[in-house]
């Protein structure tokens, strides 16, 4: 397993329980430019990067009621980049003192025969989509602004269709569990993005 490197604590064989702190929001297509502009000013001095990813969500249904979900993601515009397998736990809203959604997370870089391996294990692909957008970084914070495309023909990533007229904005930090201070930084950063975009902790259960 690849240990997340951005941590101040020693990585010992993947026993560290990593958490993802997340804030979400969205902007309409026409205000994307100004948001990107703002982010370029706020974030670390790097060339702004775009990405084009293909994500597949796999389910393993066991005896339990809730299936086990894994997300496999690959970069479509960067050849040679490893695949990324991700497990995300149940999101916790937390109380008011914590300003971000927190969920357990396990990140693994894998080779490209991941899908075959998952299929062999008994996973079944639930859905897939293409994400295309911009990637920013400020310290340990990652800011992703992307649009989700529906795949019309299963397995064919060339024919896609935009899901909405807006872009999803995610501000995330992966940190060891219990480091709730990072959520303060995230809140401060989110404040600076207002009123272009309002980043909030959105409970996915409430949307269902």
């Amino acid at each position: 397993m690849e240990a997340p490197p951005v941590t101040m604590m020693p990585v010992t064989g993947g026993t560290i329980n990593m958490m993802e702190y997340l804030l979400q929001g969205s902007v309409l297509d026409h205000s994307l430019e100004s948001l990107i502009h703002r982010l370029r000013g706020l974030c670390d001095n790097m060339e702004p990067e775009t990405f084009l990813d293909h994500e597949m969500v796999f389910l393993l249904k066991g005896q339990q009621a809730s299936p086990f979900v894994l997300r496999a993601r690959r970069s479509m515009d960067r050849a040679g980049a490893p695949w990324h397998l991700r497990y995300l736990g149940q999101p916790e809203m937390g109380d008011k003192n914590r300003h971000a959604l927190v969920r357990n997370c396990v990140d693994i870089a894998t080779s490209e025969n991941l899908t075959d391996f998952l299929m062999e294990m008994g996973f079944r692909m639930d859905h897939e989509f293409v994400a295309k957008g911009h990637l920013f970084r400020k310290g340990i914070m990652k800011i992703v602004v992307y649009k989700i495309f529906r795949i019309l023909v299963p397995g064919n990533t060339d024919s896609t269709e935009a899901l909405s007229l807006s872009y999803l904005v995610e501000l995330s930090v992966v940190a060891p569990a219990g480091q709730d201070m990072v959520s303060d930084d995230m809140r401060n950063f989110a404040e600076q993005l207002k009123p272009l975009v309002h980043l909030e902790k959105i409970d996915p259960k409430r949307l269902m």
Partner: protein, 649 residues
Amino acid sequence: MSGVRAVRISIESACEKQVQEVGLDGTETYLQPLSMSQNLARLAQRIDFSQGSGSEEEEAAGPDGDAPDWAGAGADQDDEEGLVKFQPSLWPWDSVRNNLRSALTEMCVLYDVLSIVRDKKFMTLDPVSQDALPPKQSPQTLQLISKKKSLAGAAQILLKGAERLTKSVTENQENKLQRDFNSELLRLRQHWKLRKVGDKILGDLSYRSAGSLFPHHGTFEVIKNTDIDLDKKIPEDYCPLDVQIPSDLEGSAYIKVSIQKQAPDIGDLGTVNLFKRPLPKSKPGSPHWQTKLEAAQNVLLCKEIFAQLSREAVQIKSQIPHIVVKNQIISQPFPSLQLSISLCHSSDDKKSQKCAPEKPGQEGHLYVLEHNLHLLIREFHKQTLSSIVMPHPASAPFGHKRMRLSGPQAFDKNEINSIQSTEGLLEKIIKQAKHIFLRSRTAATIDSLASRIEDPQIQAHWSNINDVYESSVKVLITSQGYEQICKSIQLQLNIGVEQVRVVHRDGRVITLSHQEQELQDFLLSQMSQHQVHAVQQLAKVMGWQVLSFSNHVGLGPIESIGNASAITVASPSGDYAISVRNGPESGSKIMVQFPRNQCKDLPKSDVLQDSKWSHLRGPFKEVQWNKMEGRNFVYKMELLMSALSPCLL
């Protein structure tokens, strides 16, 4: 009455002045005599206008005029007499009466006109604008007063205006300074990172955004410099914006790299380089913020370079450990050679001013290395910046690419190590220093040989464009005047970091170490070989025959450097033979073999009776080469050969 009298009588008044009263003591006080006009007025008062005209107006005009007693009384009499004398036929007041008459006429006319006007039937009176002008005395004073008043008002307005103007000018100036500060701040903002903390404006000097990991905060403060005295003349280089730089970044700094041949006393370390470089004459007043900031940033960068080098010097294990003393790093790239990298920081305070100036030319700066150090640190910055790449796919965590790849690709340790570069700044700069030193030493060796040895000649062609770790030189060994035929020795010297590779013309590769003696010996042996090669070439041209040739002769005295080489050539007729042996150390030895019949001193042999044997070559005789004419070896050889060849003519 008196006018009727015919007799002229001159009457004189007894006293010119009328006596007003006579005092008890008999003194008379006189009345001042009446002047002509007063007299006339007194007389006129006595006129009875009612007499002679019956008009009522005349009565109104002069009601107080009593009927004049024409005879006059007392003193007036003489005047009346005078008038009578001049106009005897006329009544004495005739002219007065005439005037009064005409006045009366006019008054009547005026009366009539007024009565007509009052009716407003036939005539009306309109005011005439010129009415204002005729009044004279009082309007003038009035005008004067009004003028004075209006002038005072105008003056007041002007004064008030002037006051407001001066106020606004000062305000303007302040505003201008304020505005200038803002525009300066804007310009500052375009070049430097600024942020506002509380009521202060702080800027960032560090290279952190460029990838530097140097822990110095590198913060400067922006100061508003507007509280200068506006009355005084503003200096030309005045700038409303000033910057406050951390005290440890003040002054100027640079990295000094030098190579010394001998290790100085350890006691001298660290102090030799604390000299003060003569600063360029700075103008009075504070320099512009941009220059200040650039200087400070340069100091910061130099400090970072030195800190990085010191850290590496301590960490890297080398055969001869690097020494870090105070502001100096000392390394020994080659034996008896010392590379010193020092940080020279001169601040403007007086203490450092006292430092003795460096003796010029004492130890050369290696400007190339100093420049390369700056390049390397920037490369290092860029590396740190680019080592953390954005993750792809986007959901992956941040991290080094090598860490992300190593798992899926199942890299072993060597592969992982190959991805990351471990060579540090110090190692690189030492390598560069080694190369520079080796290059300069090679050049010096070649030059000293070329100046020491005139025959044969050495030419060195240096390539202009070099790598930081490698450069090359082409060495030709020729004889003057025979460049065309003697081209046997052409050497390509590739100077690397540790050694010099020599590529011979025929493809042989010889690797020499950094010791200059090796190169010198090699070149000397090559030069000695060149002479023998030249003889061979010359023989070809002269039609002589090469009997034997050897680059490395196994016979004779042993040379300390390389081997002697030898050649034997025979004349076209075969009568003579020349044998040349040339050693790098022993020099050249030339022998000539004569035909047997020319040797008088040969003992008659009983065996060789036949005359045909006389054509056999006899013994060798050594040529006293230094007594030969000719400017160099090949020329002498040519002369010898032509002397021994039979004349073709």
